[in-house]
């Protein structure tokens, strides 16, 4: 069953169009990955789903709601959580305060207790750091805290923009393990990742962006086996050749 279905999305920053006719979907329980070179529009696409960037075209349906008409602060309560690129914690607040804010404007007690239990069992070291200011933690801990904050609203779809960037192999393993566990619990995941092999080993399906367009969409296994990816990352389009 489709949880997310976005069709024909277009985004422009001012007069400068950076995303054209992007359509993506995610089934319940899937892990979907957005791939593509730097500047290809991965974050822009994800930001447009959580309504942080204005659409010039297209529509977004999520779990029975039409997101394209909504302002950004109305999205998380519908069950779509977005963990931004570079974690974006509130630097001068404690881990605890960051997590509390993740639970939404009026969290009720029972839900709060449940959410805390879940994120602390996923990331036990956050419990030890409860009272620490976010900006004083290591990069890896901040990334964990950001994912945990995104989970406090108990989302159906978790979108994470480059969760593994800058992490040591050990931490990467830990974060990937947590995401996999969440997925097994039924959370649908949409993530952005630069490392193609790692992403494809992790995700069920992937979309590949290049210069603001989706140029490939396929199950991870197919992409790993074929050589279609090479041309996206290293090849030139016909119109880029000398002529």
């Amino acid at each position: 069953m489709k949880l997310l279905e976005a069709r024909g999305l277009g985004v422009a920053y001012g007069d400068f169009q950076v995303l054209w006719d992007a359509s993506i979907e995610a089934d319940k329980g899937e892990i979907v990955c957005l791939l593509g070179p730097n500047g290809s529009g991965k974050s822009t696409l994800m930001n447009s789903l959580s309504r942080l960037t204005r659409l010039t075209a297209g529509e977004i349906l999520f779990d029975g709601h039409a997101l394209h008409d909504l302002p950004p602060h109305r999205i998380s309560s519908l069950g779509l959580s977005h963990v931004l690129e570079r974690h974006r914690l509130f630097p001068y607040m404690t881990v605890l305060e960051n997590l509390l804010l993740g639970a939404g404007p009026r969290p009720d007690r029972a839900r709060l207790a449940r959410a805390f239990e879940r994120v602390y069992s996923l990331f036990p070291r956050l419990k030890e750091r409860e009272k620490q200011l976010a900006h004083s933690m290591s990069g890896g801990e901040q990334q964990m805290c950001a994912i945990a904050r995104g989970l406090m609203s108990e989302p159906k779809l978790l979108m994470v923009d480059e969760p593994f960037i800058g992490l040591s192999p050990q931490l990467r393993h830990e974060v990937a393990g947590a995401l996999r566990r969440l997925n097994e619990e039924g959370v649908t995941i949409l993530l952005i990742e630069q490392n193609v092999r790692e992403a494809l080993a992790f995700a069920h399906r992937a979309y590949v962006l290049r210069a603001g367009r989706i140029v490939l969409a396929a199950p991870a296994g197919e992409l790993l086996a074929g050589d279609a990816l090479e041309s996206v990352f290293f090849g030139r389009r016909d119109d880029e050749r000398l002529h």
């Binding site: 998380s76 931004l84 509130f90």
Partner: protein, 288 residues
């Protein structure tokens, strides 16, 4: 110098300092949440003082009684200014934002001049008038009460911002607006709230001041200039910094007013400001 005199200076300095701090916190709160300097902050204070004075001279309402109403009305006024004026220039250039609140300042001053004239008004028979004698120490009770009131208001504000979920949401918008939006926080409402609270701060300060200070169209400038210094000194957007700096300035100006000359009482304040800005440009408690 006798102990009596020292106590008098200290108490009076602390009292003024708390008032400066309250005004400065209102200013720094608005700045911290949306990076806009409210140049009309002093005029908000002036309106509150006129309001208190009007209530007294037309209906005989004492400033102590008028205070909650003036605070609440100023809250609404701040919210109104946000929705009608500030919101229209939020996506505009910095110039547009500066001219919006600067224009409001000029407009409010001219309006006050037009309606009330340039005369100085005073509330002469406030409940808080007279002096208080404790031991051998004589203290002007209006000033003392004003300082105390400002201190209480400041503490209440501090609790609101640092101890409640609403305050946490305000700080979230101030620290990372986009991240706050992804967590379901309505940043636009937080902006309005910041303007409301910022204006309510001067509302309370204005009601307290008017029981012992003259009211005239340009009265805002007297206090707000010092509050700008407190904000810069404490670190832009830092509530604790504004509080510390406000109190420090209050004590400093009373002491120098006594030992040097009352016309020069703010000189050491500006000197201190220069030194701090040169040595630590982000202010006492400011962040990089």
């Amino acid at each position: 110098m006798t102990a009596t005199l020292a106590t008098q200076l200290l108490v009076s300095g602390l009292g003024m300092g708390c008032i400066f701090a309250l005004i400065a916190i209102g200013l720094t709160l608005i700045y911290g949440v949306m990076n806009i300097v409210n140049f009309a902050h002093g005029e908000f204070l002036m309106i509150s003082m006129y309001g208190t004075w009007l209530a007294y001279s037309f209906w005989g309402v004492d400033p102590v009684v008028a205070l909650p109403a003036v605070g609440a009305l100023m809250f609404l006024f701040g919210v109104l200014v946000y929705y009608v004026l500030v919101r229209q220039v939020l996506d505009g250039t910095m110039h547009a934002q500066i001219f919006a609140t600067f224009g409001l300042m000029v407009f409010l001053q001219a309006a006050a001049q037009f309606v009330f004239g340039a005369d100085y008004h005073a509330i002469d028979k406030s409940w808080l008038g007279g002096v208080l004698r404790i031991g051998g120490i004589t203290l002007p009770s209006a000033q003392l009460a004003a300082g105390l009131g400002a201190l209480l208001a400041t503490l209440a504000l501090y609790a609101l911002i640092f101890r409640t979920h609403l305050g946490r949401q305000l700080r979230a918008v101030s620290q990372d607006r986009t991240a706050a939006l992804t967590l379901g926080i309505d940043a636009d409402r937080m902006n309005a709230l910041a303007w409301g609270i910022g204006a309510a701060c001067v509302g309370v300060a204005g009601a307290l001041l008017s029981s012992f200070y003259y009211v005239f169209p340009r009265v805002g400038a007297v206090f707000v200039l010092i509050s700008y210094v407190a904000v810069a000194l404490g670190g832009f957007g830092s509530i604790g910094g504004a509080l510390v700096a406000g109190v420090l300035i209050g004590i400093l100006q009373v002491i120098s007013g006594f030992f040097v000359a009352s016309t020069l009482k703010f000189l050491p304040v500006y000197l201190l400001y220069l030194v701090v800005v040169l040595l630590r440009p982000t202010g006492i408690l400011g962040r990089q």
